[in-house]
Symmetry: C2
Subunit: 227 residues, 2 copies
DNA sequence: TCAAAAGTGTTGAGCGTACACCCATGC
DNA sequence: GCATGGGTGTACGCTCAACACTTTTGA
């Protein structure tokens, strides 16, 4: 049955988002081979016959960027007939959220170079990767409002100021400080720590942790996170 | 490069939702071949080498159920290594919304039989199709709240009562009639027609149409649909 | 002492929610 | 005339949005 059909190739591609003090960024890889040799591209590659799609995405991420143990979620599957000039290739795209201060710009393990690019300044990419990136950014902007995934972009311990700036950068809008703090603290999803920031040239802010366990409890009871 | 890897098979599977006076339903197909011969399954099949994923989903829908020209959206891609007992197969799942009164229960064009099943009464399906169905139902329940996709389940001209019952069936909760009407009419997305229901054993209700054009205009201005 | 960010409450407006009765039609 | 769904308004509580000054710390 299936052997009577020519099979398409299957790849995974990853849009890895990171946040620093300036910008929301993604990781790009410089291609060392044709097609699109020298062009920037999303990290990714072919799915092995004995690994799941998510395992393939994690493997490519580790091999090409050194990124490991991060939030990873399937984005969309791109299957236009001519998206790869060589042959028919279907790409299952994933997006990842990493804490950029924890994952400093790492070189790829092979010869290709990896770098962080601001989402406002993405060059022309290989294949249909610009489109994949657009879908990923749109998904992040939509999802960050009603699921507490934004915490994945911050260090484990963070200040309310960092949290607010994270939302301001992703959503590209200013947020009122007092209203934001009232709302986020009112959800009771943050554990207030007995620690404050160190080495800052102004009043040190209190540190908080996201309470994953409590979120799951509330969610089961019908609570909906919303910014 | 890619030729050094064994390729997985790629299929599409479709969860086709329809609504009638009783229930939210999906179409299932009785399998005529091994594996899972005689078991019910989602309509679907292998993606041809020269057709896009969406085209494959539309073709399978037409061939197996006679359904055409309906709302169709990609759901998720299922790629566990052992989801097909024969060989490695990756399935790109889609979900469709059809107006059940317009698409009466059609037999499949080939020997296999197709039938509507209430979502509350889905049998044990072939492959991982129960899981695909679960994801589809969850997606529909989530998405119907903040995108006006529910109209796809109704005839072009519908009453406010039909619209409300559609939401009540999908969301499995009662809605206050006066508040619902106030809210939905307040959005100004419905065109009130100069027509009323025919042949009903009670006061005939006014008919409305969803104003697709107006929705797109409002959406561009930042309007968010929400039930 | 200056710069830079942290921290903190109140008010008004708009929105969501709860709630009960009369109307029109076919049988 | 009865059964069935269609159609309608108000009042209350809560949430959201707007808004400015004092505190702490390091340089």
């Amino acid at each position: 049955m299936s052997t009577t059909y020519k099979k398409p190739g299957v790849t995974v591609d990853c849009v890895v988002f990171g946040l620093d003090e300036e910008d929301l960024k993604i990781i790009l890889i410089e291609r060392g081979l044709e097609p699109f040799k020298g062009r920037w591209a999303l990290p990714g590659g072919f799915v092995h016959i004995d690994e799941s799609l998510e395992a393939a995405a994690m493997r490519e991420l580790r091999e090409e960027t050194g990124v490991e143990n991060v939030f990873l979620e399937q984005l969309y599957t791109f299957g236009d007939v001519d998206r790869d000039p060589r042959e028919r290739v279907i790409s299952v795209a994933y997006y990842a959220l990493v804490n950029l201060s924890g994952h400093k710009i790492k070189a790829a393990t092979d010869a290709r170079s990896a770098a962080w690019f601001s989402v406002d300044d993405i060059p022309k990419l290989a294949f249909d990767h610009n489109r994949i990136f657009d879908v990923a950014l749109k998904r992040l902007r939509g999802k960050v409002r009603y699921e507490p995934i934004g915490f994945e972009l911050l260090p484990e311990k963070f200040t309310l100021g960092q949290l607010q700036r994270m939302y301001e950068k992703i959503l590209e809008q200013d947020i009122d400080k007092r209203n934001f703090r009232k709302k986020i603290l009112g959800m009771e999803l943050l554990k207030e720590l007995d620690e404050v920031q160190m080495d800052v040239a102004h009043r040190a802010a209190r540190l908080y942790k996201f309470d994953e366990r409590k979120y799951r409890q509330l969610k089961e009871k019908g609570f909906n996170f919303e910014i």
